[in-house]
Amino acid sequence: MSALLETSELVKTFGAGDTATRVLRGLNLRLSTGEMAALLGPSGSGKSTLLTILGTLMKPTSGRYQMLGHDLIAADDRELTVFRNRHIGFVFQFHNLLPDFTALENVIFPTAVREGRETATARARGRDLLVRMGLADRIDFPTANLSGGQKQRVAVARALMNSPELVLADEPTGNLDRASALQVMELIGQINRDEGTTFLISTHDEKIAAACQRQIVVADGLVTG
């Protein structure tokens, strides 16, 4: 499989001087298109920092990061924003939906913000995604009225809205009960298989990790396995 992204010698240091903390210590990682990988490691190992850098929300202190042939270290904020919108989707532990919007409005946000308006095409795709997530009867519900599992499924739909090549999921089931967690993971697996979307899932849950094709272990800021 072709490489979707590749990092080399990624270093991330927070603070300066005596209080400086080096979270990533020259991390090398390669993800192929269509992979579904679990990111494992103890708290403080650098998993979240790595996801944040891969998601272009933060720049490393040093090192190289390329995705789809783009040098994402050299890109400026505007270029990264556009790149993120088109190629990367996010699923957060606490869903992070926009509270004053409906499920459908949340899902189509990435497309609407890119096109400057909510198009009929975007609405149709948003509805399709919510139906696939088993939320056909919750499409126009305010997100405040949804359960935790439903909110997380809306978040997955939102991450897929722009058909990104990569979806980064940070503990996507960490805040869900077992049944909801399994439901979300089944959906993620199905999308990975059907659409070839690459998933990198940070998790502490061994069952979730086992459901992924590959397990990447991060410890002390390095990929150790």
């Binding site: 929300l57 919108n85 088109r86």
Partner: protein
């Protein structure tokens, strides 16, 4: 940017109570702005009406005739014929100029007059008066003589005279009684009192007599021409420009009322300046109110801003959302305040009905459009700081909150 507008509107409708409070604050500021505009404008109008309302806005007076000289071929002055002090110089071609002046845009009324001094005698009573001869039908063209009449009619005809209340009382004259009028040229007429006016100005009510233009011709031995042309305009503030235009058109020395009213103009300017300050403070209150409310909103919505940024919303989009919120608040508050201001001014009398003792609030000078425009601009400016603050939100930190 339709989508940013939708998000801004959603944020405002998400917390209706807070938005209503914010809009009310802006509306109160606009209300004060409009009230002050109407008061300052109305006050200026009232002062002008009381001081200038009964005056001509432009006056053309005959120039004093130069002495006539007879000079010998050797250059020696053989004879000097100086016009007598009491002889009135004339605007001999007045009849030619009047239609031209009346056709100048903004001219409301033109009144050719013959003025001069004279004496009224009734029995042993003698009063010195200023006599004004006006064309019948134009008695109220400049001074609202009709409005000041307390007895009889302002209508002047041949053999009729209109006097002020105090003058009539001094001469113990009643309507229909006769009075002997002698001008400074020595001509004498007996006229019948047809009307008594009372302006409230002692100087005028005691010493000014109105006669018809034909009577004045006889009294001042002026078979043609007039001594003065008075002009009233639709807008007295246009007097300077219109006077210039009339000068250019006729070559006559048209003088605007402002030339002799520097102190009044200074006082009105000072009053207007005070108004600007008060309105400025009202605007400042609006700006501070909107800025603080939006700053609070920015802080409260930091996690959402972080999510939007993570989903691919650029900094410009975030700025636009918050600036649009400011503009919407300004527009809503501006329109609400303007409507409330207009409704609050409705019960007050119109500028034509201003009377001493009432608050001279001029509903036509509320500056409604200006108030709304300035409020929207002010609200947009006020939202720039919160918007920039929102655009600088670090998505990683914000999402983690």
């Amino acid at each position: 940017m339709l989508y940013a507008l939708k998000i801004a509107a959603r944020y405002l409708t998400a917390n209706l109570a807070q938005t209503a409070l914010l809009v009310t604050g802006v509306a109160v500021g606009v209300f004060i702005f409009i009230f002050m505009s109407a008061l300052i404008g109305g006050l200026a109008e009232f002062i002008l009406a009381r001081t200038v309302g009964d005056m001509a806005h432009i006056t053309i007076e005959a120039e004093s005739a130069d002495p006539a000289l007879l000079i010998s071929p050797k250059g020696q002055v053989l004879f000097v014929a100086e016009p007598g002090r009491i002889r009135t110089a004339t605007l001999a071609e007045a009849a030619t100029w009047l239609p031209l002046i009346a056709a100048v845009p903004g001219v409301k009324a033109v009144s050719p007059q013959i003025t001069g001094a004279g004496f009224l005698t009734r029995g042993a009573q003698v009063s010195q008066v200023s006599i004004t001869g006006v064309e019948p039908g134009r008695e109220s063209a400049i001074l609202d003589l009709d409005g000041y009449m307390v007895e009889g009619s302002a209508r002047l005809g041949s053999g009729l005279i209109v006097l002020g209340r105090e003058l009539a009382d001094d001469l113990a004259l009643s309507l229909g009684q006769s009075v002997r009028v002698q001008s400074t040229t020595g001509s004498t007429m007996v006229l019948t009192l047809s009307g008594i006016y009372q302006t409230g100005s002692r100087g005028m009510d005691q010493a000014r007599a109105f006669v018809s233009l034909s009577s004045a011709r006889t009294l001042f031995a002026m078979p043609q021409g007039v001594t003065r042309i008075e002009i009233k305009l639709d807008d007295l503030n246009a007097a300077d420009a219109t006077a210039l235009r009339i000068r250019a058109l006729t070559g006559l020395d048209a003088v605007s009322w402002t030339e002799g009213a520097a102190q009044l103009m200074e006082a009105l300017n000072a009053q207007a300046q005070t108004g600007y300050f008060l309105k400025g403070f009202a605007l400042l209150t609006i700006v501070i109110g909107v800025a603080s409310a939006l700053l609070l909103s920015t802080y409260r919505r930091r996690p959402e801003i972080g999510i939007m940024r993570a989903m691919g919303a650029g900094r410009g989009f975030v700025v636009f959302v918050f600036v649009t919120q400011g503009a919407l608040v300004g527009l809503l508050g501006g329109v609400t305040g303007a409507v409330l201001g207009y409704l609050a001014l409705l019960p007050f009398p119109s500028r034509e009905a201003f009377r001493p003792g009432t608050l001279p609030l001029d509903i036509t000078q509320g500056s409604y459009g200006l108030a709304i425009t300035l409020t929207v601009i002010g609200a947009i400016l006020a939202s720039i700081l919160p918007a920039r603050s929102a655009a600088r939100v670090d998505p990683v930190t914000a999402i983690g909150q």
